[in-house]
Amino acid sequence: MKSIKRCQGIISLFLVFFVAGMIALVIKIQREASFYMMHSENYELGMVYDRNGDVLFDGSGNEEYEDNYFIDVGNLIGDDKGQMTNTLVAQNLEKLNNYSFSAGLVREGGKAAIYTTLDHEANRAVYNAFGNQDGCAVAYNYKTGEILVCTSLPSLDVTKGYENISDFRSGTLISKTLYGTVPGSTQKVSTVIAALEIMGADTLFSKSFSCSGTYVNKSGDNIDCHNSYGHGTQNIQQAVENSCNPFFAQLIEDDDLPLSQVKKVYEKLGYAVNDDEEEYFDIDGIKCQKASTTLNDPYEFKTQWGCIGQGDTLVSPIQLMMWQSAIANESGEMTMPHLIDHTTDVYGKIKDNAKTQFSDRLFSSDTAETVKQILLTNGENHYTNLITGYKLGVKSGTAQVNEGNTENSLLVGFVDDPDLPVAFCILIEDKNNTSLKTENIAQIMLDALSQN
């Protein structure tokens, strides 16, 4: 009868809703179970491997390793102890857990692992090259985005625990590649990009400014050049090669380069201009600080100094390296770096295969080509003898830190070779204290990478 049928209809409606909810619940639990497990005290971690199958982190703790076997990646790969949070393991614990809802927690023989893109051997060679010097180096394949080398000193051996954590030197627990540092003259690459975007190659190459060692800007402040005798009159190519500060100060003051447009290009490049909120971008769960700078007034000392790469400007080495990829690719698009090639679940099934991703277009491909040419010429003229065997586009930099008390040395660049498409950034802290040069490290790094 229809009346009874109607009641049955309502009962079915309630049941259908409930059953649909239950199905949603089961699916939710299936998908999120391993996330839940990571919040319990009950987990069994797997391994992290490099690109050749070498161990970078052993979650099981069953094997013995040489002393300092993991020290070169200590503060990048990290561990599960909770002392370091911005590390690969800490951010990807869930993927590393030997757990699946149907298998439960596998104590022995679980195959959950993360296969990274790092080259442990090259990484260790670079780490050792630093010797007692602090600093960091990062390199990646600008075609695919695979991070090949990423090391930061001082570092730690995670297998030794944190008992003497108070004795650790500052910066031990973080990978410096991820955090902003004063870029020095490497910043001039960004300024050249901005100038090219705004006025075009022809206008820029027609400009020439003179340098007498020091330049008094329009607001009356001194912009010093590192060469106190001055560089004379130069065009942009020479200014980049000489890394001439007065040239760039005058360029910023030039009427063809309105600061509002420079700001726009900088923002496109990813700078947080004038105290914008601090931002991060994500590399497989690891947070990398975005660049920031201050641009107020083209005649102001602070702004000019910012465009030259001192003062308020902060850029992380990884971002410096990523801009090099946009130049080296001649596309104006950055290749987004990644650290995880793939992961395996508890049964050893491969999942999460990495894909190469590109950023939005930061600048035009014409600009990219021109900058690439400028950097390649610089490499050819000044670095052929220092780093042998590679066709390089580079820009060096010296950054004043600790209120000008110490100087850091930087080198950013790329190899223009389809067989070795590597972009890199190297940072040596307190360079006046050592005979170690960034080019030495670049040579060792590229040699190690080209061998594999």
């Binding site: 009868m1 229809k2 009346s3 009874i4 109607r6």
Partner: protein, 139 residues
């Protein structure tokens, strides 16, 4: 140990499943006996048109033109809700629920009356006969 645990879980779950299944089957069986019981209680009656017969499946049956009526007579002379059949103690009663044309049983206009076998009910232009179900004798 693990496999034993798995088997035990499976056994416990399976026994529960089978139990649920058996109970559902039992419910279907009960529906059949319930139908029989209901038919006995309602004296095996049905309403019949000249070509269709309407089973009387529950204790309150609305007759009318509206789509939601239990027995739908699509005829404009029948009100939307015309009459209601109710049963109590095995006796069917027909009640006029505010129809326009009235309810006639064997030609008499009634407000409420008990029905007996082979009564002729007239609702508007439609005639229905209250009779024993034809398939009863077969069983």
């Amino acid at each position: 140990m693990d496999s034993l645990k798995l088997i035990l879980c499976a056994v416990a779950a399976a026994s529960l499943d089978i139990c649920a299944l058996v109970l559902i089957l039992a419910a279907y069986h009960e529906r059949n006996t319930g139908n029989k019981r209901w038919n006995r209680m309602t004296s095996f009656m049905e309403l019949a048109d000249y070509n269709t017969s309407y089973p009387l499946g529950c204790d309150e049956i609305l007759i009318g033109r509206h789509a939601s009526a239990d027995i739908r007579l699509p005829d404009l002379s029948v009100s939307r809700y015309h009459a209601m059949l109710t049963i109590s103690n095995g006796i069917w009663t027909i009640t006029d629920i505010g129809s326009k044309s009235g309810v006639f049983v064997n030609g008499n206009l009634v407000k409420q009356t008990q029905l007996r076998e082979n009564d002729m009910i007239t609702l508007g232009n439609r005639r229905l006969i209250f009779r024993r179900r034809s398939d009863v004798n077969v069983r």
